[in-house]
């Protein structure tokens, strides 16, 4: 099992799936199940004889992946209505962005999506570069792309481990898959430590390029780690795919309707597991993605198991992309602007609004920035908004939960992979 074959396009054969077109997009027929549950169901209208119980899951609940509070109305074990409450981790990042300069914002947004911090830096710096019309050198584009792909692998590894814990350690007993994935994630964090000096909050992207160049021998080390990881991915598939408990907990649980998901603005692995072939890396290439072929793994079942399959296939695809890019990193500068020392070195003198989006491990992560027209404030954005994929994914909960029992809700919530730092900002 050596060699880096590309990920299979679909793991289950497509022959038996009926397709239809909704809004120009091809979706599997059997996943479309309107009418959708009413998220604003008046609980008084429900069966008056039922003995409903209100259960507050969270904000300090181990399976809500952070501080999410979900208020569940249960009829026996079956959920009738679900109301999510956010804001327990709201730190006012967008307000901070209005007080800090373009250069100072990068380390702040690192803390949004703390599982793949470099994605935030990439998204926000791409928007700033669009605003001030700065070019990014090719070498920097390559470093950004390689880092983004390795971050994607790390993020999915963390998801797989915690997903195993969500199911009560169903995979391999106890928390063993968690131990395996965290061992591998450690290798990736070591790579980033060599590159930037930090393990979590890197502060390595800046407007117009990168701060840190690749150290000597890093590319060879990274290639070796990724090859090792690729072999381990096959191991995870064998570990989990035929595991009877894992299948019983995930197959057919939390089926996401692709039409509803598109309306809610959900992208990434959740939409791809529901049969929609969409990926911003391929459809709207940014950084160095235009120079490489990308296979987008999709699934047609739309359940938690399909989302697991898509994420593992994506990990292998990311490893392949990163390995291929590592072979041909071009020489040259890593930043187009002069090394930025002063906080006010980057300036935008117009009030235009721009938006730049990337494909983060959870979907479309975008940044909307308005420049400041006031001359004295030219180094500070007027308004900054981070469009986080996790917040859109959580909007599924009121549609997904009714009709499921409590243990399935926990698995469905885990399979959405929400990061609360990004939801609440």
């Amino acid at each position: 099992m050596s060699g880096l074959e590309s990920a299979p396009a679909a793991v289950t054969p497509d022959d038996n799936v009926q397709w239809t077109t909704v809004g120009g997009v091809r979706v599997p027929v059997e996943l479309i199940t309107p009418p959708w549950p009413d998220p604003y169901l008046d609980i008084e209208d429900y069966d008056p004889d039922a003995d409903l119980m209100v259960l507050n899951m969270g904000p300090q609940h181990p399976s809500t992946h952070g501080v999410l509070r979900v208020k569940l109305f249960l009829d026996g074990e079956i959920c009738v209505k679900c109301v999510p409450y956010l804001g327990y981790l709201h730190r006012g990042v967008e307000k901070l962005c209005e007080k800090l300069s373009y250069v100072q914002i990068t380390p702040i947004v690192d803390k949004n999506d703390y599982v793949s911090p470099m994605m935030n830096e990439l998204a926000i710096n791409m928007a700033f570069e669009k605003l001030i019309e700065a070019e990014v050198p090719r070498r920097s584009q390559y470093i950004r792309t390689i880092c983004a792909e390795i971050q994607r692998v790390g993020s999915h590894l963390l998801w797989l481990g915690t997903f195993g814990l969500d199911m009560g350690g169903a995979i391999g007993g106890g928390g063993s898959i968690f131990m395996h994935t965290f061992r591998e994630r450690e290798l990736l964090l070591d790579l980033f430590e060599d590159l930037t000096g930090c393990r979590f909050h890197y502060n390595t992207h800046t407007v117009g390029g990168n701060r840190h160049d690749i150290p000597a021998g890093w590319a060879a080390k990274a290639t070796k780690v990724l090859a090792e990881l690729n072999a381990r991915c096959f191991e995870y598939e064998q570990f989990v795919r035929e595991n009877e408990i894992f299948r019983a907990r995930t197959v057919g649980v939390g089926v996401v309707d692709p039409v509803l998901a598109m309306e809610l603005g959900i992208s990434g692995p959740i939409l791809r597991a529901s049969g929609v072939d969409v990926d911003l890396r391929r459809d709207q290439p940014y950084a160095a993605y235009g120079e490489i072929d990308i296979n987008v793994p999709t699934e047609t079942a739309g359940d938690c198991f399909a989302r697991y399959l898509v994420r593992v296939a994506e990990m292998r695809e990311s490893i392949r992309i990163a390995t291929e890019l590592l072979k041909g990193i071009p020489e040259g500068p890593i930043g187009s602007l002069k090394p930025v020392k002063l906080a006010g070195a980057v300036k935008a003198k117009h009030g235009k609004a721009v938006y730049a989006a990337i494909e983060s491990p959870r979907g479309e992560l975008g940044t909307f920035v308005v420049g400041n027209t006031e001359r004295r404030q030219a180094a500070i954005p007027y308004r900054c908004k981070i469009r986080s994929p996790s917040m859109h994914a959580l909007q599924l909960l009121p549609y997904l939960c009714p009709g499921n029992n409590l243990s399935d809700i926990i698995v469905a919530l885990g399979s959405l992979d929400p990061i609360m730092g990004e939801v609440d900002r």
């Binding site: 120009g24 604003y40 804001g87 603005g265 969409v278 235009k352 609004a353 479309e364 975008g366």
Partner: protein, 170 residues
């Protein structure tokens, strides 16, 4: 950035709107729902990206002063500009395309909600109501989403006093 040709045609010919280079079509609040419905049903913009409100404080009118050489400028009232962006997902015969439009909402008036057209606008509009204070009419559940329910003011307004201490106990 260039906008999709069919969306540009819809805006200019049917609605008589002008398109900006980066912000898209500027639409009046009364036409907003009509435009949004046409974009979704006729032009297949099924993927909702964002709604963002940006607050602009009032600008005082400037009187002409010949000694200083300043020219007269009319005042602009306190307002929020609400930006929307939609995406048309890529298929085999077309790339993915974005379309954006915006509307100006004077403070004290409300903006029509698009959450009945795209369900994804629901929480986004709640967030903009919470942080910027834009009121979305006909929204099914317009509550605060990030800040506590009894929080005074809207933090992302430009006139929000940032140095005021707010105690979590009251």
């Amino acid at each position: 950035m260039t906008w999709p040709i069919d969306a540009e045609k819809l805006c200019t010919e049917r609605f008589g709107l002008e398109l900006c280079e980066t912000e898209g079509a500027g639409v009046d609040r009364t036409q907003l729902i009509e435009l949004a419905t046409a974009l979704k049903n006729e032009l297949e913009f099924g993927f909702f990206v964002y709604v963002v409100s940006v607050h602009y404080p009032a600008v005082e009118p400037i009187e002409a002063d010949e000694e200083k050489g300043t020219e007269a400028a009319p005042g602009i009232p306190d307002r929020t500009v609400v930006h929307y962006r939609l995406r048309r997902l890529a298929t085999d015969d077309r790339p993915t395309e974005c379309f954006a439009f915006f509307t100006v909402v004077p403070t004290g008036e409300s903006c029509p909600s698009v959450s009945s057209i795209w369900a994804g606008a629901d929480w986004q509009e709640r967030e903009q109501f919470d942080l910027v204070g834009t009121v979305f009419a006909d929204h099914p559940d317009l509550r605060r989403i990030m800040m506590p329910e009894d929080w005074p003011g809207h933090p992302l307004r430009r006139d929000y006093a940032i140095d005021t201490q707010h105690f979590p106990w009251r």
